[in-house]
Amino acid sequence: MAAMLQSLGVTSASVTSNKFTAFSINSLPVIRSESRTVSVAINGTRKAGKVTTKAVAAQAENPTSAASKPGHELLLFEALREGLEEEMDRDPRVCVFGEDVGHYGGSYKVTKGLADKYGDLRVLDTPIAENSFTGMAVGAAMTGLRPIVEGMNMGFLLLAFNQISDNCGMLHYTSGGQFTIPTVIRGPGGVGRQLGAEHSQRLESYFQSIPGIQMVACSTPYNAKGLMKAAIRSENPVVLFEHVLLYNLKERIPDEEYVLSLEEAEMVRPGEHVTILTYSRMRYHVMQAAKTLVNKGYDPEVIDIRSLKPFDLYTIGNSVKKTHRVLIVEECMRTGGIGASLTASINENFHDYLDAPIVCLSSQDVPTPYAGTLEEWTVVQPAQIVTAVEQLCKQ
């Protein structure tokens, strides 16, 4: 199981791993990113007085008394469901389309219980035709509903590529702004545990060029709930990438309502020596490597970019200007992945601030093999990250 970032105040690991040790609570100071005014007003994401940009909910002051901490503990898939449920309560136009999302509750239980609560008109089980139920969501969105399309596995949404790129992304533009398409397209992707090549796709690579859509990737229960809510409230089509192996992460999240920004990155660990940019599951491999690096005397700054389209160049830029070295760790393949785009973007905008060429660690350009050991070596491991940082800092 992926290495887990324990939220402060939670002492027991809910998911044990035989490969990676759970983190010790005190080794990771949690940082609040500064609230800053964003020139673009995004509905519902800024609440007066709420600090919505906290990286992790609870703070480091008193980690021992778990029971008296505010907030509640839950797993990532439950956080997604909570966000979904709150939005469905709040707005009767929100509905869910997908395979087995209704009475079955979804293959990863994200929609469990929702069909019983809202009826099967709002949580709709569709036949197996991804292009068509995505097309249906486009049609429903143009007529006033706010549908959420669940791909049972993101890879299946390749069948819906035509509808997503030519219609979802374009109709707002080609109709001259007359029709809006406020859909959310979500589902689990990424490399799992021996799921085979077809079920280990990283769609963010393929979708990143489509004009008109936004892409975000969640990695913790806190940001999963916040991003889900933000995506539902957004007027643009948003693709929310979840990861198959992160659904059982446990964290304590606030009881109060909060919505995160779709365009912001998350500062996971501030540092001075090198900027490590990552997202989704690789965040945990990076933090695992960070522990080793700290022991070796390095001070890496880790940023979970979260927003895959557009990139939060403000946060990333500030970090580059501070550390002058960049390492990108991603699960996408080397060719045409998010890392490739991000490298180009940083080179273009912050070239003068770089002391060394950007290093990008990604998966190889191969379909993911089934055999466990082979699969492990197509994914970037903490040891590789440590080596890369050491080499980067030598230059």
């Binding site: 199981m1 509905c95 099967d120 049609g139 429903a140 030519d166 809006t180 799992g192 659904y247």
Partner: protein
């Protein structure tokens, strides 16, 4: 008996793996349901499934009887037979075609929905206007004034009569040969011309090719060049109408070629399963660019496919305005009252070329085109009927043709002179608000234009 859901089978292996690897994934895949059913009961209790926002009932197990003449298979009771016989691939006779007027516009039956006099006359006038618009815009493309055009020659009755049978609340999801529907709903000639010229008065802001009209005011969804994608949009929109409980339906048009796509199949299937108020209108005009229907499918047209999906269907004479009107009227009633989809196949002939980029004499004989244009002209047939009813005269005809021509020419002349949209419109509406990367790209473009102003067209305002 295990829970047998065919679409789950593909996933079981994959989910089984998830079960063993995610140690905290407590709930077993199959233990969710505490009562086990056969798929037929599942389906039977779900036949009224999508009708409310309330929670659903539990479903019970029904025992199979000991009768050996029939069996309660998944999907329903099926009787057995000893005959080893295959269903025919080709029927002896094609499904009959509903018609009200004969070739010369005389009524051959009284079995049709009566049309109000004013509506009938408006129908005719709009059919003539559509013809005129098509002719003149086509000529304008040939003169190089617009870049592209696509006519509805031979399908005027399909366009106008179907539009006339609907209400303004019904949502239209067109393919591209249904400008007449928009014309009926009140889109002005000037608006048509503005879209074709892509000027700043175009409500699409100059972003699409000519004939890709769209108007939310008229409930006409913007034409997209992708074939048959609008069919699933129509189903989704019908679904939202059903959720709202509105007294309206959606209608979607597509050609014979469009029925070969995956979107067509899945959308019809969905609509039947979910029971939504949508009218599927197929314009079977015999040609998909250069592909004749015999190369497109081997079924008896499209009408027989309705049965395959469990959808009521009808074949009508697409050149008969009264027949089309009646069929769409009835279809609308069925769709809304029963919240079920309906399939209409209108047989017609594409009397013009596919578009201005096509010369159909290359793949079909000119005599064939001429014959259909003269002998089966929908406008002529309807006119003869109107004349017989005393609603139309030769004088009115001449006046109408003259004024229509003048109006269209005027609209073109005006549209040609209007400015194009500004450079700003390249970047707006991609998202609801302009994000930083697009702001940077706009700035960069403007700088380039300033630096190399001689390389950029002078009639595009900045």
């Amino acid at each position: 008996m295990a829970l047998y859901l065919p679409f789950l089978r593909r996933r079981i292996g994959f989910l089984g793996m998830m079960n063993s690897t995610l140690s905290n994934f407590k709930t077993s895949v199959l233990s969710e349901k505490n009562s086990i059913t056969t798929l037929s009961d599942f389906c039977n209790s779900f036949s009224r499934r999508f009708y409310s926002n309330k929670a659903d009932k539990q479903f019970d197990f029904i025992h199979n009887g000991g009768d050996s003449k029939e069996l309660n298979f998944p999907g329903g009771i099926v009787k057995f037979t000893s005959e080893l016989k295959f269903l025919a691939d080709v029927p002896e006779e094609r499904i009959h075609c509903y018609r009200v007027l004969d070739d010369s516009g005389q009524l051959i039956s009284n079995n049709f929905v009566q049309v109000d006099k004013e509506i009938a006359v408006k129908m005719y006038k709009d059919m003539v206007m559509l013809q005129t618009m098509d002719t003149i815009f086509y000529e304008a493309q040939r003169q190089g004034r617009i870049s592209f055009y696509l006519t509805a020659n031979g399908e005027e009755a399909i366009n106008i009569a179907s539009a006339a049978a609907l209400s303004m609340d019904d949502l239209v999801f067109p393919q591209y040969r249904e400008a007449g529907v928009l014309l009926w709903r009140g889109f002005t000639l000037q608006e048509f011309a503005n879209q074709c010229f892509g000027n700043k008065d175009d409500n699409g802001k100059g972003r699409q090719m000519p004939i890709h009209y769209g108007s939310n005011k008229h409930n006409y969804f913007t034409v997209a060049s992708t074939v048959a994608t609008q069919i699933s949009h129509a189903v989704g929109a019908a679904y939202s109408l059903k959720m709202d409980g509105r007294d309206a339906c959606t209608i979607t048009y597509f050609g014979d070629g469009g029925t070969s796509t995956g979107d067509f199949h899945a959308a019809l299937n969905f609509a039947a399963v979910m029971e939504v108020p949508v009218i599927f209108f197929c314009r079977n005009n015999g040609w998909a660019i250069s592909t004749p229907v015999s190369d497109q499918f081997r079924s008896d047209g499209i009408v027989v496919r309705g049965k395959a999906y469990g959808i009521r269907s009808i074949r009508v004479d697409g050149n008969d305005a009264l027949a089309v009107f009646s069929a769409v009227c009835m279809a609308r009633t069925i769709a809304i009252r029963e919240s079920k989809p309906v399939l209409i196949e209108a047989l017609a002939y594409r009397a013009g070329h596919h578009s201005t980029s096509d010369d159909s004499s290359k793949y079909r004989p000119i005599e064939e085109i001429e014959w259909w244009r003269e002998a089966q002209n929908p406008v002529t047939r309807f006119r003869e009927w109107l004349r017989g009813e005393g609603l139309w005269t030769t004088q009115a005809e001449t006046e109408l043709r003259d004024s229509a021509r003048k109006e269209v020419l005027h609209a073109i002349q005006v549209a040609e002179k209007v400015e194009k949209p500004t450079v700003k419109e390249i970047f707006t509406d991609v998202y609801d608000v302009l994000p930083s990367n697009l702001r940077d790209q706009e700035k960069s473009l403007r700088e380039t234009i300033e630096r190399h102003s001689q390389d950029y067209p002078i009639d595009v305002p900045l």
